[in-house]
Subunit: 146 residues, 2 copies
């Protein structure tokens, strides 16, 4: 199983050698625990991001989520949901009926993250134009230089 055992050992070896002397705005990576690196990676994951974004304050069924996040495979949706559930961000409710009915919703913890993620999404919405422009400019200059 590709559980959340620990895939990247190198993440915790020396983690990040931040050493500002006094002002250390990013002590999180070297001290605290390298956990932050790992959690960031999980939370900033492509699919997790979308799942959390979609579960605003609604309960969605598996298939509903799958339809909304067009392009996600059943497998990845399952895996993502499992991870989010394990991290206490998403609550999974199974109704013992036939056919099966499973609903997903954000936990209180997940809702606090939703806010942050939402702001990331909003940022992207607002600045996609600038980014597109920057890319064009970059690519133009690039092809110009050969």
């Amino acid at each position: 199983m590709e559980e959340g055992t620990l895939k990247s050992p190198s993440n915790c070896a020396g983690t990040v050698g931040v050493d500002y002397g006094d002002t250390d705005p990013f002590q999180w990576d070297s001290r605290e625990d390298c956990q932050v690196r790992q959690i960031l990676d999980r939370v900033a994951d492509k699919w997790s991001l979308l799942v959390i974004a979609l579960l605003d304050n609604r309960r969605l069924r598996f298939t509903e989520l799958r339809r909304e996040i067009d392009g996600i495979s059943q497998r990845m949706l399952t895996v993502s949901l499992r991870q989010l559930e394990r991290d206490g961000l998403v609550k999974r409710t199974v109704y013992p009926v036939v056919p099966p009915r499973v609903e997903y919703e954000l936990t209180p913890l997940g809702r606090t993250l939703h806010t942050t993620i939402r702001s990331l999404v909003t940022w992207t919405e607002e600045h996609q134009g600038e980014i597109a422009a920057a890319r064009q400019a970059y690519d133009a200059a690039e092809s110009g230089r050969g």
Copy 2:
């Protein structure tokens, strides 16, 4: 080359089939442009996240960045920086000296993103304990059900 051409064609096919009827909190993925999906993936990237986080309001050299983001390979740092530069988030300054000296800093656009990313990092810092606890609980219950 693994440029930012377009790796996931499926991303833009139907993108996300959001269809709430009236209240559509996530129109971004289906309308606007699927760009959002792609940009989100880029800015939420593991290394990009850390790079932007580290370039708070300082200029860092290539090697400095590499040292701070312990665990990143030269290749990925280069790739990440190129992408960020192309997206207009990071400014690259080359000093025509020998040995070469290259410094990186956030652009104004990058600085706006920094704020958002910083809040994501902060969230992770603040809630890593809860997540760890949730994982323990989950794993315990899991092994219990065996």
